[in-house]
């Protein structure tokens, strides 16, 4: 093979090298080891459960602050203590039931794994495990279908 052939090939490679590193460093600036943008169905459900867990005290607070607008004794239409008690305790009961539901729906180990900010020293493996990448989302859905089929 001639000398020219040898010089011809590297020049083409050089052109590629000029393009590719840019693409890579651009990806690095976006944070290459980034968390996935989208989750599989199961992980998505878990995340929304956590959202619900975060929301629970807010709901409780809002409902328990409703008595602020009740008319007080002596005023027109004052609320009887028995009704007020009923209101407060029914809300309490509902909140507890929701709390039980959320606590049992969270998969075991979630408090470590599915933390809002990804894994940490102990839950390090979590980053690969429950957080589905878009690619692995498809098999997960497949599994779900299989489970449903078995039922």
């Amino acid at each position: 093979m001639s000398e020219n052939a040898r010089t011809g090939t590297p020049s083409r490679a050089q052109a590629q090298r000029e393009v590719l590193p840019d693409a890579i460093s651009a990806a690095a600036q976006d944070g290459l080891p980034q968390r996935p943008l989208f989750l599989g169905r199961r992980s998505y459900r878990q995340r929304r459960l956590l959202d619900a867990a975060r929301l629970l005290p807010v709901i409780g607070l809002v409902l328990w602050l409703v008595p602020l607008i009740w008319p007080r004794a002596g005023a027109q239409g004052a609320i009887a203590t028995s009704s007020a008690t009923l209101y407060i305790f029914v809300i309490w009961y509902i909140l507890i039931m929701l709390g039980i539901f959320l606590a049992f729906r969270m998969a075991p180990g979630d408090s470590d794994d599915l933390s809002d900010s990804g894994g940490d020293a102990e839950g390090g493996q979590s980053r690969n495990d429950p957080v589905d990448t878009p690619q692995s989302g498809l098999p997960a859905q497949g599994q779900e279908k299989r489970v449903r089929g078995r039922k």
Binding site: L20, P21, P67, G74, S82, D116, G118
Partner: protein
């Protein structure tokens, strides 16, 4: 009197039972049967230390005085636990990674391990909690006196205070026994926690029992009870809106900030999974605790004389109905509430006092004593024991001093407001990296001061600390400074007034000072670790370079951790560093581990100070922080580099693969060529031999035939010669032994000559398109060789162009001294697969209709290389096209070759 004796007996039996439970739990923990001890249920029940005697007895009194308002004390904590994902979970995680021992330790550790801050929180906690412990003593003695009255016993003031003293002594003894058994607070007090859990069950059952008795035993079921409630004094909703919201907030804040709550909820927490159960189970517990409060209150109002103490309805209702067994159970419930609170609060306070006040004082008193040998664990344990005894005794004295009146009963909320002052810096500390030590000190001082001025000191009553005049007119007649009407805002409930102003000014001072001050490096380090506790488990280091001697560190660690524990720690760390033996290198990483280990025993600030004494204060600097940041940036860079390298390797692999493909193709071609060349050589040779044999052997041959045969032989030899010439030419070119004959000629002439030589002009088979003006370029090169290339390309078109009316377009471009000549015909393009090999020797495209040896383009490429140019196949023209590129002026270097 008999009943009182029975009561004393039952109480003693109960206390002995508690001791037994605690002993059994400790024993089980030692023998490793700890699974059920550390169940989430036990954790949840231990949280019930929130429900003290004040809530057990006092809730009913609260309900009698202000209706449903009492429930706010339970609503706040319920919300905090239901929202565990927000705050509690983070606190628990931080406490575990940072080995936090108390709330003072948390605050101090977050703000750069500042001991000053820890001392501030400790003082606030002691001042806020001691009256509260006194309240527990009072409630127990009060319940005694209720029984005494019921049995017409003699239970006067002196015997009341004697009873209070005895209770204090027993509680202090219990706490010292089970609370200071071990040093490492993170190892948890299994005995205490178990006892608390049992007490939680007792108080819940007691209150539920009284409630059930009241509703079904006395009132005839839920329906009649409800009617009775609505008919009573507290029958309509009458709760001040401000107090409703304010007390809910206050209870939530106190739930997080009370030292005893922090202790059971965060320090004693075994696993974050326990939180998940506690998140619903503890609100359920609180709901049950408050379920029967209003019925009991209403029944008490209904049945008992008007002057009876509503705080004691839980006891007096069963007594008045002759249910002494139920009353006993109720008494035990109250006793449980009081004792569990005193035990946990004194453990938490003693830890804070010993870690943040005694140890620093002791350290500085013994000078550079951190490296002196000798076990200091006994110093720490002793200081804790003394602290427990002192706190309980202080509470007893407070009880004596205050006279145990209704003033004490009000201290519950006062204490809550005081401890809630920690909330802004705690929440700010774990969610805001910009919070600084200066800000925390400012906020805490402001809150503490306002609490003391507007609530705590006035709570002693008129004339005790503040005169009535000061209370109403303000100090020195400045009415806007009146303790309970700051800035002239009067008519507000004192609790609400203090809560509003203290929280407002506390938070404002904290935020403002944090914004204007600049944190020290250690603060920034700790701030990042606290706020981002879920991102990294504490990888950043707080020690930089060090001159420490490992032996000194070893001596110090042995004194605090104990010889065996310290040695195993050092051996473990040495193994991590890959060193055999006991003495690891004093690297920053090791110092960090050691400090964290020590802080589990003596708190972050003291541990930091002790390590600092030996290391010589070579703590982390801003540069180190930046270096850490650099390090992670470098790691990122490194991983990027690796990615790039792997991408390059992939590219190289791709190139190699392509090269290999090409080589394989060439090898196939070569095989093809060998048969081709032998065929090419053989065909003329065969005819030459045949005709020469004919000439030799036949004598009678006509001259015409003879000439014909000789002509054939001649032309065949010419063909052979041409082939050999080509081969020779190529060999010479490839070896670089060619000498160039550089002359200056216009390009158009070169092309003219090439077209002439290719023999196009004679025929009209090929139409050639050119643009004369563009070809008007002078070239200094070996024009003969250049012409050879052009001839080859033109004759190739002539031979291979498969269009019906062949046409060749010759375009010339000139750019930066480089001349480009494109030869584009209108025939079909070359198969992409073949494009790589057409310039190789002996390659021919497809079936050759005009027999060439396949050397032409190979020669062209060699020539162009000599002329510092190139010849390539030009794709994308829709037809066959070649591009020839060469410099207009050949450099001298090549010329001389």
């Amino acid at each position: 009197m008999g009943q009182l004796n029975l009561l004393v007996f039952v109480s003693l039996a109960y206390v002995i039972g508690l001791f037994a439970v605690a002993f059994a739990a400790e024993r089980a923990a030692r023998t490793g049967r700890i699974k059920w001890l550390r169940a989430p249920l036990v954790y949840t029940l231990s949280l019930s230390v929130y429900c003290t005697a004040w809530t057990f007895y006092g809730a009913v009194g609260f309900a009698v005085r202000s209706g449903l308002e009492y429930v706010t004390i339970y609503l706040g904590p319920s919300l905090v636990m239901l929202g565990w994902w927000w705050i509690v979970r983070k606190l628990v995680r931080i406490a575990r990674t940072q080995r936090i021992t108390s709330i003072a330790d948390l605050v101090s550790s977050r703000f750069g391990k500042s001991n000053l801050l820890a001392v501030g929180v400790t003082i606030l906690a002691v001042v806020g909690t001691t009256p509260y412990i006194a309240l527990q003593l009072q409630s127990v003695t009060q319940s005694f006196s209720v029984f005494a009255e019921a049995s017409d016993g003699d239970f006067d003031q002196s015997s009341q205070s004697a009873a209070a003293l005895w209770i204090a002594i027993v509680l202090a003894f219990f706490t010292i026994l089970f609370g200071t058994r071990k040093l490492d607070v993170n190892e948890r007090h299994d005995g205490v926690v178990m006892a608390i859990a049992v007490e939680a069950v007792v108080k819940l059952i007691a209150l539920l029992a009284v409630g059930v008795f009241v509703v079904w035993g006395l009132s005839g079921g839920i329906g009649p009870m409800m009617e009775k409630i609505d008919a009573s004094e507290i029958g309509t909703w009458d709760v001040n809106a401000g107090r409703w919201a304010g007390l809910t907030f206050l209870a939530a804040a106190a739930f997080l900030c009370l030292p005893r709550m922090f202790h059971v909820m965060v320090v004693e927490n075994e696993s974050e999974r326990h939180l998940r159960m506690a998140s619903w189970a503890f609100p359920a517990y609180l709901m049950l605790m408050s379920l029967f409060v209003v019925p009991i209150a209403v029944t008490g109002l209904d049945l008992l004389p008007a002057n009876s103490n509503p705080d004691m309805f839980v006891l007096t209702i069963p007594l008045s109905q002759g249910q002494s067994g139920l009353a006993m159970l109720s008494f035990l419930g109250g006793l449980s509430s009081a004792t569990s609170m005193v035990i946990v609060a004194s453990i938490a306070l003693s830890t804070m006092v010993s870690n943040h006040i005694v140890m620093p004082v002791w350290l500085s008193a013994t000078g550079n004593g951190a490296s002196v040998s000798g076990d200091v664990r006994h110093v720490i344990l002793l200081s804790r024991r003394i602290a427990i005894a002192a706190i309980v005794m202080l509470a007893y004295l407070y009880y004596q001093f205050s006279g145990g009146g209704s003033a004490l009963a009000a201290i519950g909320l006062v204490s809550f407001v005081g401890l809630a002052q920690i909330l802004p810096i705690m929440i700010g500390g774990i969610f805001w990296r910009g919070a600084t030590r200066i800000g925390a000190l400012g906020g805490l001082s402001a809150g503490f001061f306002i609490w003391g001025y507007t609530l705590f000191l006035p709570s002693f009553g008129e004339g005790m600390i503040f005169s009535a005049e000061v209370l109403t007119q303000g100090p020195f007649g400045m009415s806007w400074l009146a303790p309970q009407a700051l800035f002239g805002i009067e008519g507000l409930d004192p609790i609400l007034h203090c809560l509003l102003w203290s929280m407002l000014l506390n938070t404002a001072a904290f935020c403002a000072l944090s914004l204007v001050s600049f944190p020290r490096p250690l603060e920034r380090l700790q701030g990042a670790q606290f706020v981002n506790v879920f991102q990294h488990g504490g990888s950043a280091r707080s020690w930089s370079s060090t001159l420490a001697q490992s032996e000194d560190l070893m001596i110090m660690a042995q004194r605090i951790l104990g010889a065996i524990e310290a040695q195993s720690l050092f051996r473990r760390e040495a193994a991590v560093q890959g060193i055999a033996g006991l003495v690891p290198q004093p690297t920053p990483a090791f110092l960090d581990v050691l400090e964290r280990e020590l802080s589990g025993s003596v708190g972050a600030a003291t541990a930091h100070a002790m390590v600092g004494q030996i290391v010589g204060g070579a703590s982390v600097s801003v540069d180190d922080l930046l270096a850490v940041a650099d390090e992670s940036a470098q790691m990122l860079e490194y991983s990027n580099k690796l990615e790039m390298q792997s991408a390059e390797l992939q590219r190289t692999a791709g190139q190699l693969r392509r090269a290999n493909d090409k080589l394989t193709q060439i090898s196939v071609q070569k095989d093809g060529f060998l048969s081709q060349i032998s065929h090419e050589l053989r065909t003329p040779m065969t005819s030459i031999r045949a005709f020469s044999e004919i000439l030799r052997d036949s004598d009678d041959m006509e001259p015409k035939d003879k000439a014909r045969y000789a002509g054939i032989i001649h032309s065949e030899t010419l063909r052979l010669t041409r082939l050999l010439d080509d081969l020779l030419d190529l060999a010479v070119l490839e070896d670089g032994r060619v000498s160039l004959n550089v002359t200056l000629r216009p390009l158009s002439e070169v092309i003219d000559a090439a077209i002439d030589s290719a023999g196009v002009l004679g025929q009209d088979t090929l139409r050639i398109k050119r643009r004369a003006p563009r070809e008007d370029v002078l070239v200094r090169t070996d024009v003969d060789r250049l012409a050879q290339v052009f001839i080859n390309l033109v004759s190739n078109t002539l031979k291979y162009c498969d269009a019906p009316e062949p046409e060749l377009n010759i375009r010339v471009y000139r750019l930066d001294g480089q001349i480009t000549v494109d030869f584009v015909d209108n025939g079909s393009a070359i198969d992409p697969k073949m494009r790589d090999v057409i310039f190789e020797k002996f390659s021919r495209v497809g079936e050759t209709k005009a027999g060439g040896a396949g050397l032409g383009l190979a020669i062209c490429r060699e020539i162009m290389a000599r002329l510092e140019g190139d010849i390539i196949y030009l794709p994308g023209q829709g037809s066959c096209a070649f591009r020839v590129q060469f410099p207009a002026e050949l450099s001298l270097k090549t010329e001389n070759v």
